[in-house]
Protein backbone atom coordinates (compact mmCIF):
# COMPACT_ATOMS: atom_id res chain seq x y z
CA UNK A 1 0.00 0.00 0.00
CA UNK A 2 2.78 2.34 1.00
CA UNK A 3 4.75 1.48 -2.11
CA UNK A 4 1.83 2.31 -4.37
CA UNK A 5 0.99 5.62 -2.79
CA UNK A 6 4.63 6.57 -3.20
CA UNK A 7 4.40 5.73 -6.89
CA UNK A 8 1.27 7.81 -7.20
CA UNK A 9 2.94 10.71 -5.48
CA UNK A 10 6.02 10.69 -7.69
CA UNK A 11 3.98 10.49 -10.85
CA UNK A 12 1.21 12.78 -9.76
CA UNK A 13 1.68 15.25 -12.59
CA UNK A 14 1.80 12.64 -15.31
CA UNK A 15 -1.39 11.00 -14.07
CA UNK A 16 -3.36 14.14 -13.36
CA UNK A 17 -5.21 13.86 -16.67
CA UNK A 18 -6.51 10.37 -15.90
CA UNK A 19 -9.73 10.83 -14.00
CA UNK A 20 -10.39 7.13 -13.47
CA UNK A 21 -10.55 7.26 -9.69
CA UNK A 22 -13.74 8.15 -7.96
CA UNK A 23 -13.34 11.39 -6.06
CA UNK A 24 -13.37 11.06 -2.31
CA UNK A 25 -12.43 7.39 -2.21
CA UNK A 26 -8.94 6.27 -1.27
CA UNK A 27 -6.89 5.81 -4.42
CA UNK A 28 -7.67 2.52 -6.06
CA UNK A 29 -5.01 1.42 -8.50
CA UNK A 30 -6.42 1.02 -11.99
CA UNK A 31 -5.23 -2.17 -13.65
CA UNK A 32 -5.69 -3.20 -17.29
CA UNK A 33 -6.48 -6.87 -17.78
CA UNK A 34 -6.53 -7.61 -21.52
CA UNK A 35 -7.62 -11.16 -22.49
CA UNK A 36 -5.06 -13.86 -21.73
CA UNK A 37 -3.52 -15.15 -24.93
CA UNK A 38 -2.13 -18.54 -25.94
CA UNK A 39 0.97 -19.79 -27.77
CA UNK A 40 -1.07 -22.72 -29.14
CA UNK A 41 -2.54 -22.75 -32.65
CA UNK A 42 -5.45 -24.42 -34.43
CA UNK A 43 -8.36 -25.95 -32.53
CA UNK A 44 -6.25 -26.30 -29.40
CA UNK A 45 -5.32 -22.65 -29.65
CA UNK A 46 -8.98 -21.65 -29.87
CA UNK A 47 -9.81 -23.77 -26.82
CA UNK A 48 -6.98 -22.15 -24.90
CA UNK A 49 -8.11 -18.67 -25.95
CA UNK A 50 -11.65 -19.49 -24.80
CA UNK A 51 -10.33 -20.63 -21.42
CA UNK A 52 -8.13 -17.54 -21.34
CA UNK A 53 -11.16 -15.30 -21.86
CA UNK A 54 -13.07 -17.04 -19.05
CA UNK A 55 -10.03 -16.66 -16.81
CA UNK A 56 -9.71 -12.98 -17.73
CA UNK A 57 -13.30 -12.29 -16.75
CA UNK A 58 -12.84 -14.16 -13.46
CA UNK A 59 -9.68 -12.17 -12.66
CA UNK A 60 -11.54 -8.93 -13.35
CA UNK A 61 -14.47 -9.99 -11.17
CA UNK A 62 -12.04 -10.99 -8.38
CA UNK A 63 -10.19 -7.69 -8.42
CA UNK A 64 -13.37 -5.64 -8.72
CA UNK A 65 -14.41 -6.90 -5.26
CA UNK A 66 -11.44 -5.19 -3.61
CA UNK A 67 -11.28 -1.54 -2.59
CA UNK A 68 -7.59 -1.30 -3.54
CA UNK A 69 -7.61 -2.43 -7.17
CA UNK A 70 -9.91 -1.23 -9.97
CA UNK A 71 -9.73 -3.35 -13.14
CA UNK A 72 -10.65 -1.83 -16.51
CA UNK A 73 -13.41 -3.73 -18.27
CA UNK A 74 -11.64 -6.16 -20.60
CA UNK A 75 -12.29 -5.98 -24.31
CA UNK A 76 -12.31 -9.22 -26.26
CA UNK A 77 -10.66 -7.50 -29.23
CA UNK A 78 -7.58 -6.58 -27.21
CA UNK A 79 -5.85 -9.90 -27.87
CA UNK A 80 -2.12 -9.63 -28.10
CA UNK A 81 0.40 -12.11 -29.44
CA UNK A 82 2.24 -14.56 -27.20
CA UNK A 83 5.60 -12.69 -27.32
CA UNK A 84 3.81 -9.54 -26.19
CA UNK A 85 2.96 -11.24 -22.86
CA UNK A 86 6.47 -10.49 -21.67
CA UNK A 87 6.95 -7.38 -23.81
CA UNK A 88 3.66 -5.50 -23.68
CA UNK A 89 2.99 -2.07 -25.17
CA UNK A 90 2.91 0.04 -22.03
CA UNK A 91 1.81 3.28 -23.71
CA UNK A 92 -1.51 1.83 -24.89
CA UNK A 93 -2.62 0.93 -21.35
CA UNK A 94 -1.12 4.04 -19.86
CA UNK A 95 -3.24 6.18 -22.14
CA UNK A 96 -6.28 4.11 -21.15
CA UNK A 97 -5.73 5.39 -17.61
CA UNK A 98 -4.20 2.29 -16.08
CA UNK A 99 -1.29 2.27 -13.69
CA UNK A 100 -0.81 -1.49 -13.68
CA UNK A 101 -1.14 -4.20 -16.31
CA UNK A 102 -1.79 -7.92 -16.03
CA UNK A 103 -0.87 -10.06 -19.04
CA UNK A 104 -0.81 -13.80 -19.33
CA UNK A 105 -1.31 -16.91 -21.40
CA UNK A 106 -2.94 -20.32 -21.29
CA UNK A 107 -0.97 -23.15 -22.83
CA UNK A 108 -1.95 -26.80 -23.33
CA UNK A 109 0.60 -29.26 -21.97
CA UNK A 110 1.35 -32.65 -23.46
CA UNK A 111 0.09 -34.32 -20.25
CA UNK A 112 -3.37 -32.82 -20.75
CA UNK A 113 -2.98 -30.13 -18.12
CA UNK A 114 -2.75 -26.38 -18.63
CA UNK A 115 -0.03 -23.89 -17.87
CA UNK A 116 -1.39 -20.50 -16.93
CA UNK A 117 1.26 -17.78 -16.84
CA UNK A 118 0.66 -14.33 -15.37
CA UNK A 119 2.75 -11.15 -15.43
CA UNK A 120 2.11 -7.92 -13.57
CA UNK A 121 3.65 -4.62 -14.69
CA UNK A 122 3.97 -1.16 -13.24
CA UNK A 123 2.97 0.96 -16.24
CA UNK A 124 4.38 4.23 -14.98
CA UNK A 125 7.81 2.77 -14.37
CA UNK A 126 7.53 0.40 -17.29
CA UNK A 127 8.79 -2.55 -15.35
CA UNK A 128 7.67 -5.98 -14.27
CA UNK A 129 6.39 -6.31 -10.69
CA UNK A 130 5.71 -10.03 -10.52
CA UNK A 131 5.31 -13.17 -12.60
CA UNK A 132 4.15 -16.69 -11.86
CA UNK A 133 3.11 -19.82 -13.73
CA UNK A 134 0.51 -22.31 -12.54
CA UNK A 135 0.02 -25.85 -13.84
CA UNK A 136 -3.54 -27.08 -13.34
CA UNK A 137 -6.02 -29.64 -14.63
CA UNK A 138 -8.31 -28.10 -17.28
CA UNK A 139 -11.21 -28.26 -14.79
CA UNK A 140 -9.20 -26.23 -12.27
CA UNK A 141 -8.69 -23.19 -14.51
CA UNK A 142 -10.63 -21.11 -11.97
CA UNK A 143 -7.96 -21.74 -9.34
CA UNK A 144 -5.22 -20.60 -11.76
CA UNK A 145 -7.21 -17.44 -12.50
CA UNK A 146 -7.65 -16.81 -8.74
CA UNK A 147 -3.87 -17.25 -8.36
CA UNK A 148 -3.32 -14.60 -11.06
CA UNK A 149 -5.73 -12.28 -9.22
CA UNK A 150 -3.73 -12.90 -6.05
CA UNK A 151 -0.45 -12.14 -7.85
CA UNK A 152 -1.82 -8.81 -9.08
CA UNK A 153 -3.39 -7.94 -5.71
CA UNK A 154 -0.17 -8.72 -3.84
CA UNK A 155 1.86 -6.60 -6.29
CA UNK A 156 -0.51 -3.64 -6.07
CA UNK A 157 -2.00 -3.78 -2.56
CA UNK A 158 0.93 -5.46 -0.82
CA UNK A 159 -1.20 -8.15 0.88
CA UNK A 160 -2.24 -11.70 0.02
CA UNK A 161 -5.53 -11.86 -1.87
CA UNK A 162 -8.56 -13.80 -0.69
CA UNK A 163 -9.29 -15.20 -4.16
CA UNK A 164 -7.76 -18.67 -3.95
CA UNK A 165 -9.16 -19.52 -0.54
CA UNK A 166 -11.98 -21.66 0.78
CA UNK A 167 -14.82 -21.01 3.16
CA UNK A 168 -16.23 -23.65 5.50
CA UNK A 169 -19.49 -23.08 7.34
CA UNK A 170 -22.44 -24.89 8.90
CA UNK A 171 -25.32 -25.23 6.43
CA UNK A 172 -28.66 -25.15 8.26
CA UNK A 173 -32.04 -26.46 7.10
CA UNK A 174 -35.38 -26.87 8.84
CA UNK A 175 -36.66 -25.50 12.14
CA UNK A 176 -36.49 -26.29 15.86
CA UNK A 177 -35.30 -29.73 16.91
CA UNK A 178 -35.62 -30.90 13.30
CA UNK A 179 -33.03 -28.41 12.06
CA UNK A 180 -30.22 -30.27 10.32
CA UNK A 181 -26.68 -28.98 10.21
CA UNK A 182 -24.03 -30.04 7.77
CA UNK A 183 -20.54 -28.71 7.20
CA UNK A 184 -20.28 -27.15 3.76
CA UNK A 185 -17.09 -26.10 2.00
CA UNK A 186 -16.84 -23.83 -1.02
CA UNK A 187 -14.38 -21.65 -2.89
CA UNK A 188 -14.39 -18.09 -1.60
CA UNK A 189 -16.41 -17.01 -4.67
CA UNK A 190 -19.11 -19.59 -3.94
CA UNK A 191 -18.04 -22.18 -6.54
CA UNK A 192 -17.41 -25.87 -5.79
CA UNK A 193 -19.96 -25.83 -2.98
CA UNK A 194 -20.26 -29.23 -1.33
CA UNK A 195 -21.31 -30.85 1.93
CA UNK A 196 -18.72 -32.87 3.83
CA UNK A 197 -20.87 -34.19 6.70
CA UNK A 198 -24.19 -35.98 6.36
CA UNK A 199 -26.61 -34.01 8.51
CA UNK A 200 -27.50 -37.00 10.71
CA UNK A 201 -25.55 -35.53 13.63
CA UNK A 202 -25.34 -31.95 14.82
CA UNK A 203 -22.08 -30.18 13.95
CA UNK A 204 -20.63 -26.79 14.92
CA UNK A 205 -17.68 -24.49 14.25
CA UNK A 206 -15.76 -25.97 11.30
CA UNK A 207 -12.19 -24.61 11.30
CA UNK A 208 -10.06 -25.15 8.22
CA UNK A 209 -6.39 -26.03 8.33
CA UNK A 210 -4.25 -23.23 6.83
CA UNK A 211 -4.22 -24.78 3.33
CA UNK A 212 -7.83 -25.97 3.64
CA UNK A 213 -6.95 -29.68 3.40
CA UNK A 214 -8.50 -30.63 6.76
CA UNK A 215 -11.31 -29.28 8.84
CA UNK A 216 -11.52 -29.52 12.64
CA UNK A 217 -15.08 -29.26 13.95
CA UNK A 218 -17.39 -30.07 16.85
CA UNK A 219 -19.64 -33.09 16.46
CA UNK A 220 -22.43 -34.42 18.70
CA UNK A 221 -22.01 -37.90 17.16
CA UNK A 222 -20.98 -39.45 20.49
CA UNK A 223 -23.78 -37.68 22.37
CA UNK A 224 -21.39 -35.13 23.86
CA UNK A 225 -19.95 -32.25 21.86
CA UNK A 226 -16.37 -33.16 20.95
CA UNK A 227 -13.76 -32.07 18.42
CA UNK A 228 -13.17 -34.23 15.36
CA UNK A 229 -10.79 -33.78 12.43
CA UNK A 230 -11.91 -34.53 8.88
CA UNK A 231 -9.58 -34.90 5.90
CA UNK A 232 -11.54 -33.25 3.12
CA UNK A 233 -10.18 -35.22 0.15
CA UNK A 234 -10.10 -38.71 1.69
CA UNK A 235 -13.14 -38.27 3.94
CA UNK A 236 -11.18 -39.79 6.83
CA UNK A 237 -12.61 -38.60 10.14
CA UNK A 238 -11.21 -39.07 13.65
CA UNK A 239 -11.62 -37.68 17.18
CA UNK A 240 -9.00 -35.06 18.01
CA UNK A 241 -8.50 -36.45 21.50
CA UNK A 242 -9.41 -40.07 22.25
CA UNK A 243 -11.40 -39.51 25.43
CA UNK A 244 -15.03 -38.84 26.27
CA UNK A 245 -14.60 -35.31 27.65
CA UNK A 246 -16.60 -32.42 26.22
CA UNK A 247 -14.29 -30.51 23.85
CA UNK A 248 -14.92 -27.61 21.47
CA UNK A 249 -13.56 -24.39 19.92
CA UNK A 250 -10.73 -25.92 17.83
CA UNK A 251 -8.35 -23.64 15.93
CA UNK A 252 -5.27 -24.55 13.88
CA UNK A 253 -1.89 -22.94 14.42
CA UNK A 254 -0.83 -20.91 11.35
CA UNK A 255 1.66 -23.61 10.30
CA UNK A 256 -1.02 -26.28 10.71
CA UNK A 257 1.06 -28.38 13.12
CA UNK A 258 -1.03 -27.79 16.25
CA UNK A 259 -4.67 -27.37 17.24
CA UNK A 260 -5.68 -25.33 20.27
CA UNK A 261 -9.11 -26.11 21.75
CA UNK A 262 -11.21 -26.08 24.93
CA UNK A 263 -11.93 -29.12 27.05
CA UNK A 264 -14.21 -29.50 30.07
CA UNK A 265 -12.89 -31.08 33.22
CA UNK A 266 -15.65 -31.05 35.79
CA UNK A 267 -17.10 -27.51 35.80
CA UNK A 268 -13.90 -26.09 34.29
CA UNK A 269 -13.32 -25.20 30.65
CA UNK A 270 -9.61 -24.80 29.97
CA UNK A 271 -7.49 -24.34 26.89
CA UNK A 272 -5.35 -27.18 25.61
CA UNK A 273 -3.06 -27.66 22.63
CA UNK A 274 -2.36 -30.90 20.76
CA UNK A 275 -0.48 -31.90 17.61
CA UNK A 276 -2.88 -31.81 14.66
CA UNK A 277 -1.81 -35.37 13.80
CA UNK A 278 -2.58 -36.53 17.36
CA UNK A 279 -0.67 -36.95 20.60
CA UNK A 280 -1.10 -35.97 24.20
CA UNK A 281 -2.90 -32.67 24.82
CA UNK A 282 -1.04 -30.09 26.86
CA UNK A 283 -3.06 -27.93 29.23
CA UNK A 284 -2.40 -24.19 28.87
CA UNK A 285 -4.82 -22.50 31.28
CA UNK A 286 -5.79 -23.44 34.81
CA UNK A 287 -8.10 -20.68 36.03
CA UNK A 288 -11.55 -21.64 37.30
CA UNK A 289 -14.33 -20.60 34.98
CA UNK A 290 -14.65 -20.67 31.23
CA UNK A 291 -11.50 -20.22 29.14
CA UNK A 292 -12.30 -20.78 25.48
CA UNK A 293 -11.97 -19.71 21.82
CA UNK A 294 -8.16 -19.75 21.52
CA UNK A 295 -6.56 -18.29 18.36
CA UNK A 296 -2.87 -18.28 17.49
CA UNK A 297 -0.80 -15.26 16.47
CA UNK A 298 0.53 -15.57 12.88
CA UNK A 299 3.99 -16.62 14.11
CA UNK A 300 2.44 -19.23 16.41
CA UNK A 301 4.15 -17.82 19.49
CA UNK A 302 1.10 -16.41 21.26
CA UNK A 303 -2.58 -17.25 21.78
CA UNK A 304 -5.50 -14.88 22.29
CA UNK A 305 -8.55 -16.34 24.09
CA UNK A 306 -11.61 -15.37 26.08
CA UNK A 307 -12.06 -15.96 29.78
CA UNK A 308 -14.71 -15.09 32.36
CA UNK A 309 -12.21 -15.45 35.24
CA UNK A 310 -12.71 -11.78 36.15
CA UNK A 311 -16.51 -12.09 36.32
CA UNK A 312 -17.36 -11.22 32.71
CA UNK A 313 -15.98 -12.52 29.44
CA UNK A 314 -12.86 -10.60 28.36
CA UNK A 315 -9.99 -11.14 25.96
CA UNK A 316 -6.62 -12.35 27.21
CA UNK A 317 -3.29 -13.02 25.52
CA UNK A 318 -0.71 -15.60 26.61
CA UNK A 319 2.40 -17.23 25.20
CA UNK A 320 1.70 -20.43 23.25
CA UNK A 321 3.05 -22.46 26.19
CA UNK A 322 0.50 -20.92 28.56
CA UNK A 323 2.86 -18.47 30.27
CA UNK A 324 2.58 -14.68 30.65
CA UNK A 325 -1.21 -14.30 30.57
CA UNK A 326 -2.45 -10.72 30.41
CA UNK A 327 -5.84 -9.13 29.90
CA UNK A 328 -6.34 -7.32 26.58
CA UNK A 329 -9.88 -5.85 26.61
CA UNK A 330 -11.25 -3.43 29.18
CA UNK A 331 -14.31 -1.94 27.48
CA UNK A 332 -17.93 -2.28 28.56
CA UNK A 333 -19.86 -5.45 27.78
CA UNK A 334 -18.55 -8.94 27.20
CA UNK A 335 -15.83 -9.81 24.70
CA UNK A 336 -15.81 -13.19 23.01
CA UNK A 337 -14.50 -15.32 20.12
CA UNK A 338 -11.24 -13.45 19.43
CA UNK A 339 -9.36 -14.20 16.20
CA UNK A 340 -5.87 -12.96 15.36
CA UNK A 341 -5.48 -11.37 11.91
CA UNK A 342 -3.08 -13.07 9.45
CA UNK A 343 -0.87 -9.94 9.34
CA UNK A 344 -0.66 -9.90 13.14
CA UNK A 345 -1.99 -6.34 13.53
CA UNK A 346 -5.52 -6.89 14.79
CA UNK A 347 -7.73 -9.13 16.85
CA UNK A 348 -11.33 -9.45 15.72
CA UNK A 349 -13.93 -10.27 18.36
CA UNK A 350 -17.64 -10.47 19.17
CA UNK A 351 -18.81 -7.96 21.77
CA UNK A 352 -22.00 -8.55 23.72
CA UNK A 353 -23.81 -5.63 25.26
CA UNK A 354 -27.22 -4.03 25.67
CA UNK A 355 -27.36 -3.57 21.90
CA UNK A 356 -26.79 -7.25 21.16
CA UNK A 357 -23.78 -8.88 19.59
CA UNK A 358 -21.48 -6.98 17.25
CA UNK A 359 -18.17 -7.59 15.49
CA UNK A 360 -15.20 -5.37 16.31
CA UNK A 361 -11.43 -5.20 16.09
CA UNK A 362 -8.74 -4.21 18.57
CA UNK A 363 -4.97 -3.85 18.22
CA UNK A 364 -2.84 -6.51 19.88
CA UNK A 365 -1.70 -3.99 22.51
CA UNK A 366 -5.31 -3.31 23.51
CA UNK A 367 -5.64 0.07 21.76
CA UNK A 368 -7.56 1.15 18.67
CA UNK A 369 -10.80 -0.69 19.45
CA UNK A 370 -13.39 -0.17 16.73
CA UNK A 371 -16.79 -1.76 16.02
CA UNK A 372 -17.35 -2.86 12.41
CA UNK A 373 -20.96 -4.03 12.53
CA UNK A 374 -24.18 -2.84 14.14
CA UNK A 375 -25.56 -6.21 15.21
CA UNK A 376 -27.71 -7.18 16.98
CA UNK A 377 -27.17 -10.85 16.10
CA UNK A 378 -23.59 -10.93 14.81
CA UNK A 379 -20.91 -13.36 15.96
CA UNK A 380 -18.06 -15.63 14.94
CA UNK A 381 -15.59 -13.41 13.01
CA UNK A 382 -13.04 -15.02 10.70
CA UNK A 383 -10.29 -13.15 8.83
CA UNK A 384 -9.69 -13.19 5.10
CA UNK A 385 -6.09 -13.83 4.02
CA UNK A 386 -5.67 -10.12 3.15
CA UNK A 387 -6.30 -9.10 6.81
CA UNK A 388 -8.59 -6.41 5.38
CA UNK A 389 -11.87 -8.29 5.45
CA UNK A 390 -13.79 -10.33 7.99
CA UNK A 391 -16.42 -12.99 7.45
CA UNK A 392 -19.04 -13.42 10.19
CA UNK A 393 -22.46 -14.85 11.00
CA UNK A 394 -25.56 -12.69 11.37
CA UNK A 395 -28.80 -14.02 12.84
CA UNK A 396 -31.99 -12.28 11.76
CA UNK A 397 -35.07 -11.68 13.91
CA UNK A 398 -36.65 -15.02 12.96
CA UNK A 399 -33.55 -17.00 13.86
CA UNK A 400 -32.49 -17.33 10.22
CA UNK A 401 -28.70 -17.11 9.91
CA UNK A 402 -26.58 -15.85 7.04
CA UNK A 403 -22.94 -15.17 6.24
CA UNK A 404 -21.63 -11.65 5.74
CA UNK A 405 -18.29 -10.10 4.89
CA UNK A 406 -17.19 -6.69 6.06
CA UNK A 407 -14.07 -4.67 5.26
CA UNK A 408 -11.91 -2.74 7.69
CA UNK A 409 -12.42 0.32 5.45
CA UNK A 410 -15.76 1.20 7.06
CA UNK A 411 -17.95 -0.19 4.29
CA UNK A 412 -21.30 -1.87 4.95
CA UNK A 413 -21.35 -5.66 5.45
CA UNK A 414 -22.31 -7.63 2.33
CA UNK A 415 -24.21 -10.90 2.51
CA UNK A 416 -22.63 -13.76 0.61
CA UNK A 417 -24.80 -16.15 -1.36
CA UNK A 418 -25.18 -19.70 -0.09
CA UNK A 419 -27.89 -22.26 -0.93
CA UNK A 420 -29.55 -22.20 2.53
CA UNK A 421 -29.05 -20.66 5.98
CA UNK A 422 -25.49 -20.70 7.26
CA UNK A 423 -23.52 -20.12 10.46
CA UNK A 424 -20.00 -20.42 11.90
CA UNK A 425 -18.06 -19.32 8.81
CA UNK A 426 -14.33 -19.98 8.63
CA UNK A 427 -12.09 -18.49 5.96
CA UNK A 428 -8.92 -20.37 5.00
CA UNK A 429 -5.55 -18.92 4.11
CA UNK A 430 -4.33 -18.96 0.51
CA UNK A 431 -4.13 -22.52 -0.77
CA UNK A 432 -1.04 -24.12 -2.37
Amino acid sequence: MRRISLTLLLLGIATATHAQQQPGTPAATVIAVPPLTSPDSGTKGNQMLATGWDATQLIVSDLRQTPEVMPLTPNRDDYYSYPEVTAPTFSKWRSAGAKALLTGFVQARSDGRLTVGCYVYDLDKGRELARKGFVVNPNDWRRAAHKCSGLAYQAVANAPGVFDTRIAYVAENGVGDGRTRRIAIMDSDGYNHRYVTSGSTMVLTPRLSPKAAQVAYVSFASGDPSVRVLDIESGQDRPLVPNDAISFAPRYSPDGSRIAFSMMQGPNSDIYVVGSAGGLPQRLTTSPGVDTDPSFSPDGSRIVFESDRGGSQQLYVMNADGSAERRLSFGGGWYASPVWSPDGEWIAFTRRGQDGRRIGIIKTDGTGERMLTTGPGDEGPSWGASSREILFQRAGPGGRTGLFRVGLDGSQPRQITIPQDGSDPDWSGVMD
Binding site: D177, I246, P267, A336, R352, R357, G380
Partner: protein
Amino acid sequence: MRKTVLFIALAFSAATASAQLPFLSKRGPAQPVVQGIDALRAEFAAQSGGTTIYYSAGNVGLAAPARTVLTAQAAWLRRHPEVVVRVEGYGDSGDTRDHALAVGARRAEEARSYLVLLGVPAAQLSTTSWGKERPGLGRSVTVLVRTN
Protein backbone atom coordinates in the same frame (compact mmCIF):
# COMPACT_ATOMS: atom_id res chain seq x y z
CA MET B 1 -39.27 -39.37 21.89
CA ARG B 2 -40.03 -40.07 18.25
CA LYS B 3 -37.83 -43.15 18.46
CA THR B 4 -39.84 -44.41 21.40
CA VAL B 5 -43.06 -44.06 19.47
CA LEU B 6 -41.48 -45.97 16.63
CA PHE B 7 -40.43 -48.78 18.95
CA ILE B 8 -43.93 -49.09 20.33
CA ALA B 9 -45.30 -49.15 16.81
CA LEU B 10 -42.83 -51.90 15.91
CA ALA B 11 -43.72 -53.87 19.02
CA PHE B 12 -47.38 -53.57 18.10
CA SER B 13 -46.86 -54.78 14.54
CA ALA B 14 -44.73 -57.65 15.84
CA ALA B 15 -47.62 -58.68 18.07
CA THR B 16 -49.97 -58.56 15.09
CA ALA B 17 -47.58 -60.71 13.09
CA SER B 18 -47.26 -63.24 15.85
CA ALA B 19 -51.01 -63.70 15.87
CA GLN B 20 -50.78 -64.88 12.28
CA LEU B 21 -47.60 -66.89 12.72
CA PRO B 22 -47.89 -68.70 16.06
CA PHE B 23 -44.27 -69.95 16.15
CA LEU B 24 -43.08 -66.36 16.62
CA SER B 25 -44.84 -66.12 19.95
CA LYS B 26 -41.93 -68.03 21.54
CA ARG B 27 -40.03 -64.74 21.53
CA GLY B 28 -42.37 -63.39 24.18
CA PRO B 29 -43.60 -59.81 24.46
CA ALA B 30 -41.49 -57.37 22.44
CA GLN B 31 -39.52 -54.43 23.91
CA PRO B 32 -40.87 -54.24 27.46
CA VAL B 33 -37.80 -52.14 28.41
CA VAL B 34 -38.85 -49.19 26.28
CA GLN B 35 -42.23 -49.01 27.90
CA GLY B 36 -40.48 -49.46 31.23
CA ILE B 37 -38.23 -46.43 30.86
CA ASP B 38 -41.19 -44.35 29.72
CA ALA B 39 -43.09 -45.32 32.82
CA LEU B 40 -40.04 -44.58 34.93
CA ARG B 41 -39.67 -41.18 33.30
CA ALA B 42 -43.25 -40.28 34.07
CA GLU B 43 -42.87 -41.43 37.66
CA PHE B 44 -39.56 -39.58 38.05
CA ALA B 45 -41.02 -36.33 36.70
CA ALA B 46 -44.11 -36.60 38.89
CA GLN B 47 -42.33 -37.49 42.13
CA SER B 48 -39.39 -35.07 41.87
CA GLY B 49 -41.34 -31.99 40.89
CA GLY B 50 -39.99 -31.92 37.35
CA THR B 51 -36.98 -32.90 35.29
CA THR B 52 -35.90 -29.35 34.55
CA ILE B 53 -34.20 -26.72 36.67
CA TYR B 54 -33.66 -23.11 35.65
CA TYR B 55 -30.74 -20.70 35.94
CA SER B 56 -30.62 -16.94 35.73
CA ALA B 57 -28.87 -15.57 32.64
CA GLY B 58 -25.10 -15.90 32.74
CA ASN B 59 -25.33 -17.81 36.00
CA VAL B 60 -24.35 -21.40 36.71
CA GLY B 61 -25.20 -21.47 40.44
CA LEU B 62 -28.17 -23.41 41.83
CA ALA B 63 -30.97 -21.28 43.24
CA ALA B 64 -33.21 -22.51 46.07
CA PRO B 65 -36.00 -23.84 43.81
CA ALA B 66 -33.39 -25.74 41.78
CA ARG B 67 -32.02 -27.34 44.96
CA THR B 68 -35.52 -28.42 45.99
CA VAL B 69 -36.10 -30.16 42.67
CA LEU B 70 -32.64 -31.79 42.71
CA THR B 71 -33.19 -33.02 46.28
CA ALA B 72 -36.37 -34.77 45.20
CA GLN B 73 -34.63 -36.11 42.08
CA ALA B 74 -31.81 -37.49 44.25
CA ALA B 75 -34.25 -39.25 46.56
CA TRP B 76 -35.92 -40.94 43.60
CA LEU B 77 -32.62 -41.85 41.90
CA ARG B 78 -31.30 -43.44 45.11
CA ARG B 79 -34.34 -45.73 45.07
CA HIS B 80 -33.66 -46.62 41.42
CA PRO B 81 -29.93 -47.44 41.16
CA GLU B 82 -30.67 -49.37 37.96
CA VAL B 83 -31.51 -46.21 36.04
CA VAL B 84 -28.79 -44.52 33.96
CA VAL B 85 -29.13 -40.73 33.93
CA ARG B 86 -27.73 -37.93 31.81
CA VAL B 87 -27.88 -34.30 32.93
CA GLU B 88 -28.12 -32.03 29.88
CA GLY B 89 -27.15 -28.37 30.27
CA TYR B 90 -28.18 -25.43 28.11
CA GLY B 91 -26.59 -22.01 27.70
CA ASP B 92 -28.25 -18.62 27.15
CA SER B 93 -29.54 -17.26 23.83
CA GLY B 94 -27.58 -13.99 23.86
CA ASP B 95 -24.31 -15.79 24.40
CA THR B 96 -21.66 -16.65 21.81
CA ARG B 97 -21.61 -20.25 20.63
CA ASP B 98 -18.58 -21.65 22.43
CA HIS B 99 -19.18 -19.83 25.69
CA ALA B 100 -22.75 -21.13 25.65
CA LEU B 101 -21.44 -24.68 25.26
CA ALA B 102 -19.18 -24.21 28.27
CA VAL B 103 -21.96 -22.62 30.34
CA GLY B 104 -24.31 -25.50 29.46
CA ALA B 105 -21.64 -27.99 30.51
CA ARG B 106 -21.06 -26.10 33.79
CA ARG B 107 -24.78 -26.06 34.60
CA ALA B 108 -25.04 -29.78 33.93
CA GLU B 109 -21.98 -30.33 36.11
CA GLU B 110 -23.41 -28.20 38.95
CA ALA B 111 -26.61 -30.24 38.92
CA ARG B 112 -24.71 -33.53 38.71
CA SER B 113 -22.39 -32.58 41.60
CA TYR B 114 -25.39 -31.70 43.75
CA LEU B 115 -27.02 -35.06 43.01
CA VAL B 116 -23.76 -36.83 43.95
CA LEU B 117 -23.57 -34.75 47.13
CA LEU B 118 -27.03 -36.01 48.00
CA GLY B 119 -25.92 -39.62 47.67
CA VAL B 120 -26.61 -40.57 44.07
CA PRO B 121 -23.74 -42.83 42.88
CA ALA B 122 -21.53 -40.91 40.42
CA ALA B 123 -21.45 -43.96 38.13
CA GLN B 124 -25.18 -43.55 37.59
CA LEU B 125 -24.76 -40.01 36.21
CA SER B 126 -23.22 -38.37 33.16
CA THR B 127 -23.42 -34.85 31.76
CA THR B 128 -23.55 -33.17 28.39
CA SER B 129 -24.15 -29.70 26.97
CA TRP B 130 -26.38 -28.45 24.19
CA GLY B 131 -24.97 -24.93 24.40
CA LYS B 132 -27.46 -22.68 22.63
CA GLU B 133 -28.06 -25.21 19.86
CA ARG B 134 -31.49 -26.43 20.91
CA PRO B 135 -34.68 -24.74 22.00
CA GLY B 136 -35.12 -24.46 25.78
CA LEU B 137 -32.25 -22.29 26.99
CA GLY B 138 -31.16 -21.28 30.48
CA ARG B 139 -31.81 -24.65 32.11
CA SER B 140 -30.57 -28.13 32.76
CA VAL B 141 -32.61 -31.27 32.33
CA THR B 142 -32.19 -34.60 34.09
CA VAL B 143 -32.88 -37.26 31.46
CA LEU B 144 -33.38 -40.94 32.27
CA VAL B 145 -31.46 -42.66 29.48
CA ARG B 146 -32.05 -46.37 30.13
CA THR B 147 -32.07 -49.04 32.81
CA ASN B 148 -29.14 -51.34 33.41
